[in-house]
């Protein structure tokens, strides 16, 4: 029962991550310019990577209650699985730190290079931008 529950939850996390990856890939093709494409390429994968890694970390525990001859053996299993899960979680923290940094570096390079962002000059955009400036002060 425990094994099935854990497998289903981690499977759901991994599949959810894959859906977000799909969104990132489709967005990369569909969005209009460099900056908007960076949005989907650079960050669609943050959440999806985190979800997949969390799913993997959780899956470590799926056979926690396999046959153990003594309590020590059980804790030995638990210790190994916990350590692997912590390491996998550490990877996702690393992704959370490095992924926005690389996205930002590419965007800044494009901006410094004089690449004009494609913007929609409609009324609501102007109104919105003014609102932001007054709110920020």
């Amino acid at each position: 029962m425990f094994e099935i529950t854990i497998s289903i939850i981690s499977g759901a996390l991994i599949c959810g991550g894959l859906v977000f990856f799909l969104g990132a890939a489709v967005g990369l093709v569909r969005f209009p310019d460099f900056y908007t494409r960076m949005h989907s390429a650079g960050k669609g994968d943050t959440l999806s990577t985190i979800m997949i890694l969390l799913g993997i970390a959780l899956y470590q525990f799926h056979d926690l209650f396999r046959e153990a001859h003594s309590l020590e053996e059980f804790f030995e299993h638990f210790k190994i699985e916990l350590l692997v899960a912590i390491k996998v979680t550490a990877i996702s923290v690393l992704i959370m730190l490095t992924s926005p940094t690389s996205t930002h570096a590419l965007m800044e390079a494009g901006y410094d290079d004089g690449m004009e962002p494609f913007t929609c000059e409609d009324e609501d955009a102007d109104e919105n931008q003014n609102g932001k400036e007054s709110a920020g002060q």
Partner: protein, 175 residues
Amino acid sequence: MYQVLVFFLLLLTWVIFSGLFDPFHLSLGVLSCLLVTWMSSGMLFADRAASVWSRGRQAFLLIGYASWLLWQIVLANVHILKLALSPSGLEEVRPRVVRFRTGLRSEFGKFVLAQSITLTPGTVTIKIIGDEFVIHAISRLAADGLDGAMEARIAAIFEPELGDHLAVVAEGGHS
């Protein structure tokens, strides 16, 4: 005090990554952590003016902030997914460049704010010039997310003396 902290952080990392708890490997870990602490503890925590306890408080509050941020990331990612996958999603793509001034003073506070803005999909920090943030937002909804709530939360952690002022700004942004 900081050296003790650095030593225990290193030791914790050693124990997690080695996974061996016998006396031989643990003593190797203690020895190498002592050596590294002695040689290069100055590389961690560059600003030693703040006390260790205030750092601990910040780290504790940062955990709460990280979980709030994670939820925001999920919400925003769903938004991007909708933009990318739904047939009419492209009409909602209204990219714009938003500029605003931040009240945060410390470099680290600005760094956390920029990183959080970039982490939430739909908004990317392009540049920080002094205390002006240049942000690229992909849609109207994403730009509306930059209402100062994030800034107020960061200020509450790293610069408590600014907290009240920014909270007022955030309230104004919501209405």
